[in-house]
Symmetry: C2
Subunit: 227 residues, 2 copies
């Protein structure tokens, strides 16, 4: 990586692969903390996260030096350090477009609050759904019509697309036009967006296909236990 551009914020580039694992560590650390465990070794934490200890130590070493040789990591301190580093402490506002079964499931999802996210808006087109109140963590949010999308999106940083496939691209375009640059999509279609907008797409069917194929290709497990 050597895209020098700009006065460069020194923070030595952390590998993508590492970033994608950090939330998992965070989650395990929360479990440990809740269980009253105060210290953990890289071997233990790694096993609970489904990675090797070498990989875990390498990952953490990119963020800094948070452990004590001969002892391990302080659960609470490491958790705070990673959370700070990821920027989880400063919650991001989320708008969900499409309040069907999936939208409801997402709204009800307890993990959001803990992960530093706050649902600030729910949008749908169905007259039967518009106006209904949905419990999102502690808050009660009223479902608003599609016409209000721009207004609501203006208050959010993240847009979640949980609409049918056919409407996904249109919704995506409107979200981007309203200033959203982070989109999580559950529609089984590739969304094209302007440069600078980050899209992460989850397609259940694709996930199942990958899973099914992996098994077929490795009939005699090569270590198994995945995250």
């Amino acid at each position: 990586m050597s895209l020098h551009i700009a006065p460069s914020r020194a923070r030595a580039q952390v590998p993508t692969a590492t970033i994608e694992r950090l939330p998992a560590y965070l989650h395990v650390l929360e479990h440990l903390r809740d269980a009253g465990i105060t210290t953990v070794s890289s071997v233990d934490l790694a096993a609970r996260s489904g990675v090797t200890s070498a990989k875990l130590r390498k990952d953490l070493s990119h963020l800094g030096s948070y452990g004590t040789r001969g002892v391990g990591y302080d659960v609470d301190f490491l958790h705070r350090s990673i959370a700070d580093w990821l920027g989880v402490r400063q919650p991001l506002d989320v708008v969900i477009v499409g309040v069907g079964n999936l939208g409801h499931a997402l709204a009800a999802y307890r993990g959001f609050a803990g992960g530093g996210f706050r649902i600030v808006g729910l949008i749908d087109v169905d007259p039967d759904v518009i106006g209904r109140t949905v419990a999102c963590g502690d808050a009660l949010i009223t479902v608003r019509p599609l016409a209000d999308l721009e207004f609501i999106a203006g208050r959010a940083q993240i847009g979640v697309i949980a609409t049918p496939d056919a409407s996904a691209q249109a919704v995506c375009d409107r979200l981007v036009a309203a200033g959203i640059s982070l989109i999580l999509s559950f529609a089984p279609r590739f969304l094209s967006v302007a440069p600078g907008v980050e899209v992460r797409a989850i397609d259940m069917s694709v996930e199942l296909q990958i899973l099914a194929f992996r098994q077929r290709q490795t009939p005699l497990s090569a270590g198994a236990v995945s995250a």
Copy 2:
């Protein structure tokens, strides 16, 4: 990769990264086919899939030679070839444990049938939900009690865990004990399983955190447009 073991089924190992992209190509090809487009170039197909054309050609080259130089790929032939190769033609049976909002969303998901999956069972603990009939694609499936898990699992190859976090590991253990070796989990916790069992976990909160962080780290887009 050189894990020689066993009489080795020659089929030259295809890279994991390639396998994970194949379902996306498949999906775009379906769109093209439905739109009546019969031929597509690697540049076009790649753009619609969110990858570079070099990567696409390299990926396809691992499966075989399905294009025509100077012309491109026949949409229908390439689709059939990839589908055959992935083994999508022979549908896999799925049991979903946990029929809350997420379970319902999964059951209603149209993409499953097209992707070569068939839902054969729904399990829940809630007396209000047990006995209810849910439309899964064409089929109507009745939600059965947790006690029936082993019976239903015996008829399935894939288990989907859509229960609350607290029950996930227990359900996972029972699925594995019942002979399931492919598990897709939506519980935000790491599941430990015996070697040979493949687990793929999707945690919405983790997905959002990765998304949010990516944006923070690349303030001036480095190409953007992701799959």
